[in-house]
Symmetry: D2
Subunit: 140 residues, 4 copies
């Protein structure tokens, strides 16, 4: 099982008048975490796009535990929680610099052709990527 | 059962290089939908804040069906899916101008004191609000 | 001389921990104002894009006078301050519901081909658009 | 004369359907650059806020030269272009990884009391900060 850790410095622009990070911004950080995981496994999301594919989020579940604040350094831990050749579920946990849990999440993504948004099989179109995801997903 | 409908014009800034609305922005629209529902029931989220309370999201589940695009007019339909005096679950559906379903979601919020983020009972602190939510929630 | 007025309801997501709207978000509202002006003059920015052209901002100057706050209704007043067939300068003023000035701005945009970002002459490529802009720009 | 350099990895969420970074996001990066400069000079913007002061932008001028793209690493160069004890002008230049100029900007900020937004004199309230800014500003 593989996990990726990404450090995020909270931006002033990401806070709201509640004094904490606006909840939608956690989704942006999750995407940065996924990109890092993909990179750490030897691939590039950018290159996939250059070849005409994009990877939209199809389902997301977030459980918010504690607000991140300006000045915090957040660690985004990302794992491949499930993978079946078509759909990938990323498991995410975020912590602040005091190791306090900020949120847990599950993000489902697929890969589609950019021109028509039709889903493709990672197994067929990116076989090497498929192999590495099979090897590094969490065994249940 | 009460439902609120809010119209959203997609902003250019909300799109990404995939050509559709970036998925985190749906959460912003959901909040606009909740604010509208609250207003339609005779209350004001702004006034609640002025009294020293804020209403953070504690859990969110979104199932994305179809990308919204620049030029679209989106309708956000919001209902009180669950309410127990402490937690409220808002049920959300979004449609584009062709009545195509963009996403379904469930958003859980609580109310906390702004100064210490301690949860409060809506039933006790805002009894009129409580009464109206009890009356307008979906009966299961 | 033509001017367009657009109403904006401040979104919670647009505020920051300072308690006012984060200053970059005014640029988003200015874009909504420009889109509205274009629409009021009988054109569609969306259609221009569908024909393969985009309209990037090349220069912006904003003088911030007063912070917008959650709950405010902002009026964005947009005029064509300058137009020469190639470049358009939009003059912008924003007011809150008490008619207090929030900011003044000047935004310069050009039109480019989407595929290579090469500037085009509005006069040549969109002659009708050119004519209407000539007629409605501020006479100095 | 002092200058600060900050590296920014372009986020997917920062792009728009034009395929480049949405122009308002450059203002967010400028703020990150200012925070870094402040930190490099031995101060903390966070601590200033904790003492009850905030630092709003009062004027901004940006000249956009070239669009940043997803995958780019952007360098934000920030200098103190002007300082008079009350107002600070930050001079900003941004480059991509090929050393191509993305934009130049000037950002004016002041410091105000958070509770009433009344401007304060940095010279009086933060004398050490004042001294360091005097020493490190660009001499014209």
């Amino acid at each position: 099982m593989f996990k990726s850790e990404t450090k995020i410095q909270v931006r002033y622009a990401e806070t709201d008048m509640m004094g904490v990070v606006y909840h939608a911004n956690y989704l942006v950080w999750m995407e940065i975490g996924r990109t890092e995981l993909v990179k750490n496994l030897g691939f590039s999301y950018k290159e996939m796009e250059d070849e005409g594919y994009v990877s939209p989020v199809t389902d997301i579940q977030v459980s918010y535990k504690r607000g991140a604040r300006y000045g915090d350094e957040v660690t985004v831990v990302t794992k491949i929680a499930y993978y079946d050749g078509l759909r990938t579920h990323y498991g995410v946990e975020m912590f602040n610099q005091n190791n306090e849990l900020l949120c847990t999440a599950k993000v489902e993504v697929i890969v589609v052709k950019k021109e028509n948004f039709r889903p493709i099989s990672l197994r067929k179109v990116f076989p090497h990527w498929h192999e590495v995801y099979e090897k590094n997903k969490i065994i249940v």
